[in-house]
Structure formats: structure tokens, C-alpha cells
Amino acid sequence: MTVMRDTVVKSLAKVTVQGDENGLIPEYEVLVNLLPVSLLNRLSERLMAAAPPERKRDVEAGLVRAAYECGYHTGCGIITSEVFNDVVLPMVTEGEKDILRGAYAAFTAWGWAKSGIVQLKEGERMVIRAFDYYEADNTGEGLRAYMLRGLSQAFFDLAYADTYPDGMDTFVCRQTKGIEAGDPYGEFIVTRK
């Protein structure tokens, strides 16, 4: 038995997502909010467009970092949450590898990116493939899936680096393909820094 993606997606899709008076949703042991993805895309598009050529790399790194920080901290909350324990953990037989499978299934269930693991060498390298991710609609130049890069790095740090919160920045993720750049899917490779 391993983590079955469809089971995770179906179970998580049933979770009620209801914001409080501040628009914050107390779910998965973290506070999340519901924002249109076009807003997030617009934000990154404008930041990149506003940056002078010599600073574009820094802005790009900043966008990835923002996703990483979010992914690392909320990701830890998610994989230790009651929902995750109830839905995913009973299917976990391959340790961290299954935790990661569950994390990407959750990622898919919440509509961020239909994504999953293509190749995984434990503690060393992971290849992720993504379809239908919202950053594919981002306008601009080059590979622009900043959120997926940051989150993939965060997930791998959570799985294989030192225990939270000491394992930050152990691994790095680079994007090698992107729908936004004309490829049939997005591809992300996580390796040790």
C-alpha cells in the first residue's frame, strides 16, 4: 500500500472551506485564505515587469523565496494536521516518500497545481511534473512558476532536511520546463544546495 492520490483528493475535496470574519480559514492547523489566482499572477507579473533588467533575477529569487517561506511553514502545519493524519497517514508505508506523495495530492486537491512526483531519490533528488498550474497563465518571459519552485523546495526540506524549523535551505529547486514557456508540462528538479 502506498498513498493513493485519488483517495486523498476525494477526501480533501470534502473538507469545508469557510473563512472567519477576517477571511482567514482555520484549516490544516494553519490559517489560509482564499484569493483569486489572477491576483497572485498579476502581482508577480507586475513585480517582474517593474524590475530593471539587472534586478530581475533578484525579484525572481524573491518571489520563489516568498513561496518557499509559505510552503515550509504552512507545509509543516499541513503534514502534521489532523486532516492529513486522518486521510493520508493510514496509507503511508514508505515514510517520507509517501508523505510527499500525499503533499502533492493535497496540492492538487486544493487547486494549486495538478502535480506529482515523477522520480525520487530519497534525500537527494526529486523530479516533479505539473499540469494545469495557475502560474501557467502568468504572462511574461521565461519559466515563471515561482510558487511551484518554492513549494517543491519546501516540501523536500520538510521531508529530508533537519527537523522543522532547522532544515530550511538544505535543498534547491530549479524549473526546467513550463507550460508558460510552451512546454507540455512544468518540470521541477529538487537537489541538494
Binding site: 506523495r101 506529482g116 512526483i117
Partner: protein
């Protein structure tokens, strides 16, 4: 390189017979061709390092009897599959002395090639090459290209080029559809991925409980249609064929592509 005819029609006193050179064609090709063209007969083969003689009897598309000096039945066929040089002669209408195989031609070839693979498991890649060569014809010249790792999309497209394959899908062990190609418009590919992952998990658990071995292949028959699944690293590849009669040849032709795909997952 001189070109010689692979098959020659010769006239004998009793009936027209066919003979040829094993260096120009494969025993498996001869078996398939003759069994589809003649109802009954015997292929007499002289080959191997010591010039052994072997006989292959078939009737109505079934392989009935095989014998060589050293082996009989499927083991005899396995031995003959390694003969890449020598000659053969076909005797139409010849009757088998008895039945020591009794499988369809395709099935028998498949079983023999599998035994050949297992026999050489110590040098797996070399043996796989031998088995593939027995079946492959036009693909041989492409083998050098295979040395370099290609994009999985290209490999999937090559798989799709094998006659009889309708669709190809690669899924993660969790059911994530990594890649697919072919006539999948009428298939919910995500549902297929999830179903295959569940099935493979069940099969693996069974093997684990029985302490037999790791799961290697899974065939699911639906009438004439068959789904063939093969694990490759953390993924599982599946091909869908609407015509089960081509399963043997498909299995062999897919082998090297599956091996190539395994490098990607």
C-alpha cells in the same frame, strides 16, 4: 554487404518446399510467417555452434512439437532461438510425432523468449538484447540511438508506433498520471491512472504476503482487449491493446522501450 534471399522456393519430388538462411532472417519470423501461410508443417533447422538439427512442428497456428539433439519442447525452442546462423527448410504437411508444447505460435515464442531472458539474468542487458533481436526486425538499426537517454515523450511515441498498441500511459505509484500518449480521448486517463495504481498496489501486497517476488508484469484481459502493465522504478507503464492476439509480439517489442523508460522514472 552482399544481399542474399532469406527464403527460397525449391521444388522437390513430393511438394514445393521453402528453405533459407538463418543469417538473413529470424527463426521466430519464419515460424510466424509459415504458420500463418500453411495449415500444417515442419521447419527443419540446422544451426547453433555445432551444427545441431532441430525440428519445429505446427498445425492450425499452434506449435505442437519441438525437438533438437539436446532438448525438446519449450526448452528446445529456447535453444533454437539462440541460433543466429545456419539454415532451415520447410516441409509442408509434415505431421508431429507427438505434442510436447501445444501453445499458439505467439504464446510459445513469448514463453521461450522469457525463459531465454531468465536463463541469462546474470547478464541481463545482453540477454535482453538477444531476446529482442529474435523478434525485432526494422528496429535494430535504431539501437545505437537508444544509448543516449531520450525524452520520455519520444519513447512513448515509439511505443505507440508498435502495431496493436492503442494507448500508453505512465503513472506514479500513487496514481499520478505522469504521461500518456495515444488514443486516450475515450478514456478518463486520471481514472485509469488511479485504477491501475490501486490494482498494482493490490498485486504487490499479494506478492509481498506470499513472499514470492517483486511484481514484474500484469496483464488484464477484457475480451479481446488487454492492458499490459510493467513497473519501472517508482512508476508503472501500461499499454492498452484492443487485440490480444498481438500480445506476444507487443510484449517483446515494448521491452527495450520499457527498459529505456525506466531510466526516466
Amino acid at each position: 554487404m552482399t544481399s542474399r534471399p532469406a527464403l527460397t522456393l525449391v521444388s522437390s519430388s513430393s511438394a514445393a518446399a521453402m528453405k533459407g538462411d538463418l543469417a538473413q532472417t529470424k527463426i521466430t519470423d519464419i515460424m510466424q510467417f509459415l504458420s500463418s501461410s500453411y495449415g500444417q508443417g515442419m521447419i527443419q533447422v540446422t544451426g547453433g555452434p555445432d551444427g545441431h538439427e532441430g525440428k519445429i512442428y505446427f498445425m492450425s497456428g499452434a506449435l505442437l512439437h519441438v525437438e533438437t539433439g539436446a532438448a525438446a519442447g519449450l526448452d528446445g525452442l529456447v535453444e533454437m532461438l539462440t541460433w543466429t546462423e545456419g539454415s532451415f527448410q520447410f516441409h509442408p504437411g509434415a505431421t508431429a510425432p507427438d505434442t510436447n508444447i501445444g501453445l499458439s505460435i505467439q504464446h510459445a515464442i513469448m514463453e521461450a523468449a522469457m525463459r531465454l531472458d531468465h536463463r541469462g539474468s546474470g547478464s541481463r542487458s545482453g540477454t535482453a538484447s538477444i531476446a529482442n533481436q529474435l523478434i525485432h526486425t526494422e528496429d535494430d538499426e535504431r539501437s545505437n540511438e537508444m544509448q543516449q537517454q531520450r525524452e520520455s515523450t519520444e519513447v512513448l511515441n515509439d511505443l505507440l508506433g508498435i502495431p496493436g498498441i492503442d494507448a500508453v500511459v505512465v503513472i506514479g505509484r500513487d496514481g499520478f498520471v505522469i504521461e500518456s500518449a495515444g488514443n486516450s480521448a475515450r478514456v478518463n486517463i486520471d481514472a485509469l491512472g488511479a485504477s491501475l495504481a490501486h490494482a498494482v498496489n493490490g498485486i504487490e501486497e499479494m506478492g509481498s504476503e506470499l513472499k514470492i517476488n517483486q511484481f514484474q508484469d500484469m496483464f488484464v484481459e477484457y475480451g479481446r482487449a488487454v492492458i499490459l502493465c510493467k513497473p519501472m522504478g517508482d512508476a508503472v507503464a501500461a499499454v492498452i491493446t484492443p487485440d490480444a492476439s498481438k500480445l506476444g509480439i507487443i510484449r517483446h517489442k515494448t521491452k527495450k522501450y520499457f527498459e529505456e523508460l525506466a531510466h526516466s522514472f
